[in-house]
Symmetry: none
Subunit: 199 residues, 4 copies
DNA sequence: GATGAATGAGTCTTCATTCAT
DNA sequence: CATGAATGAAGACTCATTCAT
């Protein structure tokens, strides 16, 4: 599969990936058949297996690309910002911006989490994201002399907020990415920084 | 299917539901075949269809029961508490306690959200839960003279936190329900009440 | 199965036969399940097999009864009439009258003709009817010094007319039994007696 | 299913149709499984569904083709003959000739009449045939100043005769198509024209 | 590169029949 | 007599994958 593709071949491949991404996200993995995909492009069945080893491998590839791309976007946004709280905020905002641009990819990540078969492929990406975020959280806790929250739990809480708001409100589901990001940031930083104050 | 069942029949039915719940949650809906279920009980294939109209209907029924039961647990926990912030806290704690008791059911709810076919059945339960929570959030905002957060978004944020922490840490996944609940409550109330203070 | 039945048993058996006759006729043999039948009477599955060896045997029994009864009706109507043409007419009229009274049974006879499994059981009854009719036709031909028609073919032609008109117009399908019988008799006797005249 | 087929594909499809026609006619619709059909050709199960949407759709398609073809044969035979009686005769003869050529198709038409599911598909063809025949009958009645028979009933009577004689004697069941046709024509025209004379 | 055709294991579901109670 | 439960072979249909051309 490390085959060299002609430009036309590359284009076909991209078309397949794009269509598959949309179908998987909208109808689910099982309800999207290889036949649907090739029919959607008006080509024969063989085409699919020329470019991909299997339906499963295609899904995994899309998944890997998506996680990689999200990672890239987050890193670019955070840059070399020093303040850990600010880094968290930039991470949240860039994640939401990315999801708004790639709603299908976000759906696929959620989808993959429900299938034994795909969960392992998700793991690595999730771990990296989580580790990064946890580190910022820990830094923030130290920096600001905060309470005794568990950084890993807080990191998950933040991811939970961002994931849920994205799934519910983005894109074109009732709110602009900016408004959603403002709400997410306010809530998360409140949760992070003001956790004790409520007692 | 509103048939009268003998005690033996009721027992079989319950066995099937229990096994199906576990299989659906652990292996997914599509990777659990009716054949798996009946083989798991060592009975003939027809048994399944004596008790359920179809695999899909069984899943929906499990889903409905789960949502109903969670709802009941939440209502019982909140009781007639007056303070909206306290109501929210009780809701979070009871939800996490319930999930610890019914981890499979929680998985199924997440699973159902990824299938077009089941999403409608989820909707009603989700809406009720969300409306209740939103109302408490709004009350809290008014009561405490808080900032201008959108109650619905905050409600979703809370659900995101609870769902994520539950999925990651409950049960027997590294933390007690109590610890998780403390973290969730601290983060969510911080997010709710201290949202402005960070600016 | 030559079991002695209590009066209540006899009644149950009759109910089953009646319901089965209607279902088989209206929905077909294959689309009527044993479960449908017992559910229709609100009894358990065992009841069916207490009274009948199998679904197939029940059908055959209904079929046999129907043919026997029709035969009886025809014989009674024809009595000792001497004129063969008149005998034919009486046969036609009594057949149509019987069908009007037993539309379901007539449907079953037609139905049985399309299933390999039942055709043999039909055969005997059909043969008797045909032989009788053929004899009358032959007598008529001799009596009236008619043309050289093949009695068997004419007999089939008559049965074809009667069967078709019955299926189409009886009962409550747009014509009274009397009108249908008049038309059938007129056509058949015309066909029998006036066959040559058209040349 | 409006797919383009290669010559090889067209051939497979035709093989399936031919085999299915024979099996349906000889063993009935229900006693012919898709497995039987593909096994009969020594191919895999999927082949069937490559060419047909379902077993039912295949049956309906065969039925439609049969009715269309019979219709074509009748129209070609009748041509522009003016005399209505002669038109009727030509119709009868061409029908019997067609049935002799397509005994299976004729069986299927009879078979379809016994299944709720197929009766609607039969209806249209039957109506056209009946309307045509009724018109000729009415013309004949007017032309020849005949008695007051109901044209529709007479048309049904003719169809009954033709159907029955064909089912019983064609093909290779004891009579040549010519002899059967002669008998059918003689009987039917006798029934049509000489209906009164018998009184 | 691409196509239409073929494969066949696997899925859900039905249903006549049997049986313990 | 009657019931509810169970059986299991059989059926229609799907679909990822392979392959000859």
């Amino acid at each position: 599969m490390g085959r060299q593709l002609t430009p036309r071949g590359q284009q076909r491949r991209d078309q397949l990936i794009e269509l598959a991404t949309a179908c998987f996200a909208e109808r689910g993995y099982h309800d999207t058949s290889v036949a649907d995909l090739v029919a959607g492009l008006g080509v024969g069945k063989g085409v699919f297996y020329w470019y991909f080893e299997s339906k499963e491998q295609l899904f995994v590839e899309i998944l890997r690309e998506a996680q990689l791309d999200l990672r890239r976007a987050q890193r670019a946004a955070i840059g070399d910002e020093r303040d850990p709280v600010r880094r968290i905020e930039l991470g949240i905002r860039s994640t939401l911006a990315w999801i708004e641009q790639h709603p299908h990819h976000d759906d696929l990540i959620r989808l993959a989490a429900t299938e034994d078969r795909f969960r392992p492929h998700l793991r690595r990406g999730e771990e990296i994201a989580l580790d990064d975020l946890s580190k910022h959280v820990k830094d923030a806790i130290v920096d600001r002399g905060l309470h005794d929250a568990d950084p890993e739990m807080v990191a998950h809480a933040i991811l939970g907020v961002v994931g849920r708001l994205a799934a519910r409100f983005l894109p074109g589901r009732g709110a602009s990415a900016g408004a959603v990001a403002d709400a997410a940031v306010a809530f998360c930083l409140g949760g992070l920084l003001g956790g004790d104050s409520v007692r």
